[in-house]
Symmetry: C2
Subunit: 299 residues, 2 copies
């Protein structure tokens, strides 16, 4: 089977790295935007009978979904044998339940849409909470990779003898794997969320008196509230601790990053799954490491 990589306009950098490392061709598709705001893709390389991996950055998904679907369906118009989505950051995973009567379960709508237009999905560290796996909501074959290897590498290169701390019980999956890779101690805080930007944290039985370095680890930096409370909490326990933050995906504004710095975080990094000012490691490493030369996930 013959495979190619394509990319939406804001993911050419990731697609190019993945294509080079895996040994696949990176097909070109130009985008023209009309004065009325409509998008026109022109596919510049032949795709007939090709199995396509379409790489896309999908943060702020509402702005990007139409172009994604135009390109995916367009590749089929020109004869692509299959089109799989490679979305390092998978949006709409946090709206997985109706918290109030009448709320739309957006995660199901988004998953339905992707399942209708793609033959498969590859993503990195999706925010699985009430859904145990992507299969609970995606109707097409999916694979959730993890960036813990790249996060552990960054932590080893940039900190000394850290304790790995997760801000809540959900983060334990990342914290434990990273701590094991580094042979470092770890713990998770207890979180109670009262709203988008209102979060309390606490921790049981951990002695911070002799700790020199803490790395707060999470899947997503978004409003920053959880990490800010965790950051302040650790600093209150021991103000001399060197505190760093390492996450997979950064949805935060520059203002949020500045608040975390002001609260004492020394280095704050996330992958380039989303374009942000704190990219510290390359999500293309995670993805290219998982694919073989046919564009298939390695066994």
């Amino acid at each position: 089977m013959s495979s190619m990589i394509f990319s939406t306009p804001n993911a050419h950098d990731l697609a190019s790295k993945i294509a080079t490392r895996v040994g696949l061709r990176h097909g070109r598709a130009d985008l023209h935007t009309f004065p009325d705001g409509e998008s026109l893709f022109r596919i510049l390389d032949p795709v007939e009978d090709q199995h396509i991996h379409l790489v896309a950055r999908l943060d702020r998904p509402d702005d990007k979904i139409m172009q994604l679907l135009l390109l995916a369906d367009g590749l089929r118009q020109y004869g692509a044998a299959s089109v799989k989505l490679v979305a390092p950051y998978l949006p709409y995973m946090r709206q997985d339940i109706a918290f109030n009567p009448g709320e739309v379960i957006s995660a199901k709508v988004f998953a339905g849409l992707i399942s209708q237009h793609f033959d498969g999905l590859i993503t990195v560290d999706p925010h699985l909470h009430r859904f145990a796996t992507l299969d609970a909501v995606y109707e097409v074959p999916s694979r959730a990779l993890s960036a813990t290897k790249e996060m552990a590498r960054w932590i080893a290169q940039n900190t000394t003898s850290p304790i790995i701390i997760g801000p809540d019980s959900e983060s334990e999956q990342w914290v434990r794997k990273i701590a094991e890779a580094l042979r470092a101690p770890y713990a998770t805080l207890q979180k109670v969320r009262h709203g988008d930007r209102d979060v309390e944290v606490s921790i049981d039985h951990l002695d911070f008196d002799n700790v020199q370095s803490v790395v707060l680890v999470d899947d997503i930096i978004s409003s920053g509230t959880t990490l800010l409370r965790s950051n302040e909490f650790v600093k209150r326990l021991n103000a001399n601790i060197e505190l760093n933050i390492c996450a997979v995906h950064c949805l935060a504004t520059l203002e949020t990053i500045d608040q975390l710095r002001a609260a004492g975080a020394r280095k704050i990094v996330a992958s380039n799954s989303i374009e942000s000012p704190i990219c510290g490691f390359d999500i293309a490493d995670t993805i290219s490491g998982a694919l073989n030369a046919n564009g298939l996930i390695k066994a």
Copy 2:
């Protein structure tokens, strides 16, 4: 059968008028936008077993499609029996062919998407060019209404003894119907398009010497190029002619409207199918006039 009207956030005004005139309930759906740009709808009225007409303004469609699909699928999550789209302006109709090799036929992608998520479509004066009817591209039952009755009414109330002129042969369908309703003479210009903003026009055998008033009629004001050339063309034939412009849909910028005014257009109006500074008649009249109290198209 029991029917209701719903609307996306930018079409509450249209939906409210249609609901009142047809005698249907206008259900409420609140939109919350999260800091990361994701959208959450909360449906505030029961919709179980209801046949829903979802009214949406869909100009600049890339910005709006995700919210449209979240609300449509959300209504189904809460038991709606059917969800039809009422889109006074139907986007992506002009990209109905690959003008160059490799171009995605966006009209087909958009129509496929709407057909997957809705049980039917009601629109007004869609830009049918290479597709003879909406059925050529939409897989669900569709109905194209026309605003010519409301345009003729505006022209009768705002101009005196006009000739109705269409800027190209495609516009004849509107021009002829409006001229017939007004018992006015009409003609269409010949158009040659060289690019998004590069258009030439000409006309055969029409004597403008004794004409006092011209109304240029078209389906869409977009870049304004076609209307500007037509406007200038008419003014060159007879500078004393009072020239007005009446279109169904306005996608133009304020700059384009100002250019048309500078070229001598006295009044420039379009419907409120799209929010613009030149709304002169109400597309809710066209839609409510076509629906019966069950929310069905009148025979």
